[in-house]
Symmetry: C2
Subunit: 482 residues, 2 copies
Amino acid sequence: MSSGQQSVTALKKFTNFTNWFDELLLNAKIADNRYPVKGFIVYLENGAYIIEKIKRLLEEKLEKTGHKLMYFPLVATEELFSKEAEHIKGFSREVFKIEQREEKGAERILIVRPTSETIIYPMFKLWIRSHADLPLKIHQSVNVYRYETKATRPLYRVREIPWNEAHTAHESPSDAERQVKEAIEIYREVLEELGISFLLLKRPDFDKFAGAVYSIAFDAWNPDGRINQVGTVHNLGKNFSKAYDITFEKKDGSRGLVYQLCYGFGYSRVLAAIIAQHGDDRGLVLPPIVAPTQIVLIPILFKGQEKEVLEYSREIYAELKDIWRTTLDDREDITPGEKFYYWEMMGAPIRVEIGPREVLEGIVTLTRRDTLERLQCNRSEIVKEISQLMEKISQNLREKSKRMLYQMILDCRELEEAAKAVDNKNIVRAAWCGSMDCAQKIKEHVGGEIRGERYDVGEHPDRPCIACGQQAKTIIYIARAY
Amino acid sequence: MSSGQQSVTALKKFTNFTNWFDELLLNAKIADNRYPVKGFIVYLENGAYIIEKIKRLLEEKLEKTGHKLMYFPLVATEELFSKEAEHIKGFSREVFKIEQREEKGAERILIVRPTSETIIYPMFKLWIRSHADLPLKIHQSVNVYRYETKATRPLYRVREIPWNEAHTAHESPSDAERQVKEAIEIYREVLEELGISFLLLKRPDFDKFAGAVYSIAFDAWNPDGRINQVGTVHNLGKNFSKAYDITFEKKDGSRGLVYQLCYGFGYSRVLAAIIAQHGDDRGLVLPPIVAPTQIVLIPILFKGQEKEVLEYSREIYAELKDIWRTTLDDREDITPGEKFYYWEMMGAPIRVEIGPREVLEGIVTLTRRDTLERLQCNRSEIVKEISQLMEKISQNLREKSKRMLYQMILDCRELEEAAKAVDNKNIVRAAWCGSMDCAQKIKEHVGGEIRGERYDVGEHPDRPCIACGQQAKTIIYIARAY
């Protein structure tokens, strides 16, 4: 077994992320951003495919933990939408509205869901009677609509947002807390399987979900230094059950309000993270678990030996295709070199080259997309070898991404230093006293937002607040965000 | 092996369909119609589950035949929406509209898709360059929105409609014709697997899809005699490619317009057909292929023998659960009789009873939901026996439904006779001369609509037109419809 290695660079994605990303979206058939309504994009075959894969990974875990799939309407009435005061404050400016003329001539406004609390919780009120109905755990994968006034960016900030949202109701605050942990674990597992690394942050109070007691976010790193929030878990306490009057009979016969959670997982943002964290200058580098083509076979044809090579390729194809999503690229109008280039851009995890030498020696030549490392193995060992390679690729992507995340984090003690770091595409780690004044100062001077403190790791401040120099309460992460 | 049989009646669904159906929707956790916006319903856990199963059955077949999954936006601009004259005439009155205020203060109206031709075809124009790009076959499973002014009915006539829509483009009329056949075959196979019977009808010209050359429809029977259109296939010819300027370079170097098809499969209507065609007075009767619970195990406990029965039940559960979706109903707060009642309503295809006698004799007692027939088999043969039963149940449902369809069809030669037949929940088979005058007369006198002529079977008129008595051109089917 011999091995060689070519260099893998990801220069362009770090120096000119936007161009690199936009070009790749179209070339690798992920998405088409030319649809003539701002913030609405078309998901092309590979984008739609990968999103479906992510959806199934997530939904399987949700269902295994007792979440029931249900589907709720797209629209709320203005009355339903307005019940929770904080919630409407947070969302009312960014909703799409439909004017509905009813038969009787009356007009009413329908709100297109920016998220579905106001649509789902009136139903919870009908369904929940007693403690025997709890916990209630439901989920749906749908699009939500937000009238983004900031510049839109395909996959990152769109007006039509494909996501999964889960909503749960519980008897007690401790049940709700346990559910926070379960939700985090589900999202963490999916992101781990996709090799996406992130900071798990508790958002500062001023940035929590409108109507929540507190919010936990999964902040994935991006090559341009801007955080990509891929998922959030919100403990709603009794805020919504008060507003929507969702009560239950307790075991002791008295009535109480339920405790609620909602959590969301953004499919287009997770897709963006897969592209942005793993890709390189040659194109996509897809984790095997979601790749539309996991293995591409490329026959190298020389005059007079076409038949043997094609036959051998087809035999190997037949052997692999029931185990992995395999493509035999036997197009005749392009060269093997062009095929290499094409499938590198498409991010196929493993390339199998088969030429006269491979036939003669009874071997195959394999190339990993992630490292471009080439190796040969005996034909009889191809299934075993590829199984191991797939595992190695997944693991390498996961580890590489994690290393990059920690490389991007920069400890700062001064605002100016932090501003430079953010400009330099870093995520700033700093101490904060917790005051709104200092939060404001940080935002103004640093040009990034306080994303929050780590939820999974207790970090105690070993220095004064970066803004006022007084006693700090917490260690926070500061970054630009999408 | 012994066998017994209880009577199965479906009286209520034929005598009072609406009540029977509405009650069942909520009781069997299919859908909740209490959401406070007209025509928008909530799909509960079993409804959502069955729809997902139907979706996967269909999408697998679409993908196997080369249709690519893509996702297109919810909204069109008014300009895009207005390009095809017939199309806008057909749909403009029933669209929901969103008013969009852009940054510059300009307002524009967005049309919420009632179907996606006007959203997808501008993209086809960008993607299609030459014959090498054809055929182009895409599909998506999404909701479409139609502002129904008639009374809404859950699953049948709603304003939010879950469906799959496919759109294809071809080089030639003969390629398009071949695609019509492929589309019909795909839908036919799915309906066959679900045991749903239907008439495959070519709609009369005045009732074809707005913008189509002709339309083929899958009209499923319903217990109240009203036809339930579950799928349609439309040959669009060059009507839309003209309007959206979708051209390609032919093999000979000249340019031409593409030939197009669109076809749609209504998930909520197919779900309605499953409930309505197979259900009986006890509740749902689900085809095994979509049943959330395919087998329910019910232990029958007698004092002093609980342990053995539960142990035996758990062993059998362990044996079945990896092969079928199996539920062990070991609830302690309700009786076996109540469980029987509950699972009959939920439509679980096979019930397995296990009591002391079963333990003692090493057998199980199986009950088919479709016929309520009971039989016993040796424990060692349970997997084999259930496999056969599942097959028999599917086949019985399919055959029973087909028999009912042909029972409902009544040959009529006079308008009065036809009117009585429609009133009596029949589908009328009659001869028609093809004139609009007679179509109008039929509608007025019979109280049903001309649904069209059979597409799969050539039927030649053996009698004069039912309305004018002149020479008939075709045999048509007349029925009320949802």
